[in-house]
Amino acid sequence: MGFLAWLRLQWDRVGAWVCIVAGAVVLLVGYIGVSGTPYTSEQLPYIVSGGLTGIFLLGVGGMLWLSADLRDEWRKLDDLDRTLLTHKLVPITETSVSAPVDDATGPLAPVRSGRARGRA
């Protein structure tokens, strides 16, 4: 698997790391800026641009990471659905009862391989 293919599959985790690193850098820059001046009026812009923006980016990074895990879990459930249907154990799932299954993206759609799937 090439780097681009891997990037396409793991874009959420890559994005998470980018946001986390960017957030840490922004926080560091904010700290340096605040430390460099004794005046509160000059420190406040660094608190907003460095502190709040850093927290924002760290939060988005954490969200992307957890979202990737949740998507992996969702795909595992797709796998399980497919297995159950293959063995005719559950002829009709409640998922298919409650919502129409889209042929392209429904439970039988091809599953993207994710990192967490290997841990199952």
């Binding site: 709040l52 949740l70 998507r71 969702w74 795909r75 159950l84 002829p91 009862v97």
Partner: protein, 197 residues
């Protein structure tokens, strides 16, 4: 594959289809009950546990929060008046809080969708396995068990193979006698009541 699943797979074709139908009916009935109670969770059908509207809501909210943060930064940098800086700082904090709420909502939506789907899947499997464990009437009854018997001196009616009537003179149960007698607590012939004469 678990033992329970293997056991379910071993069933023959006819029973399998019957169980499938009954499991499906059970699931559909449960879903109808949920709908009747207004407790309907329409799960996403794509490859991720979010609806398109969830994605749109998250992106719009994060965009607004980013705009608010940028405006706060620009505004607070453009003045040295304390009260104005506090106003812009409050806007920045509010923007961060909005983003945090959006992120939490996003994650909770997915956690809930995954949990509901797991629960429904387990319900479906459980319904199937429970049905699978139900013995066929003929299999469970065994030879002669479908026949219900009693005797003039008895106050209960029994299956023909009930240990309490073995070696005792019995006669087939009639509808008139069945109305006066109670079922045996050992062989539990209630399941055979449909086969009464």
């Amino acid at each position: 594959m678990t033992v329970a699943v293997q056991r379910a797979v071993r069933t023959d074709g006819g029973r399998l289809e019957r169980f499938q139908r009954r499991a499906a009916e059970t699931v559909v009935e449960r879903e109808r009950a949920r709908r009747a109670q207004g407790d309907v969770e329409v799960l996403p059908t794509g490859s991720m546990p979010w609806h398109v509207r969830d994605v749109q809501r998250l992106l719009v909210t994060l965009l607004l929060a980013a705009i608010g943060l940028t405006a706060s930064w620009v505004g607070i940098s453009g003045t040295v008046i304390w009260s104005r800086q506090m106003l812009w700082l409050a806007i920045g904090i509010a923007s961060t809080a909005v983003a945090a709420v959006a992120v939490m909502t996003w994650l909770l939506t997915a956690f809930r969708a995954v949990r509901v789907r797991q629960s429904r899947m387990v319900d479906g499997i459980a319904a199937r396995l429970v049905l699978d464990d139900e013995p066929d009437a003929a299999d469970a009854a065994g030879p002669g068990a479908a026949e219900l018997v009693s005797a003039p001196s008895m106050t209960r009616f029994h299956r023909a193979d009930c240990p309490l009537v073995q070696g005792r003179p019995t006669t087939p149960l009639t509808a008139a006698r069945r109305a006066r007698l109670s079922p045996c607590g050992v062989c539990r012939p209630i399941a055979s009541s449909a086969e009464l004469p």
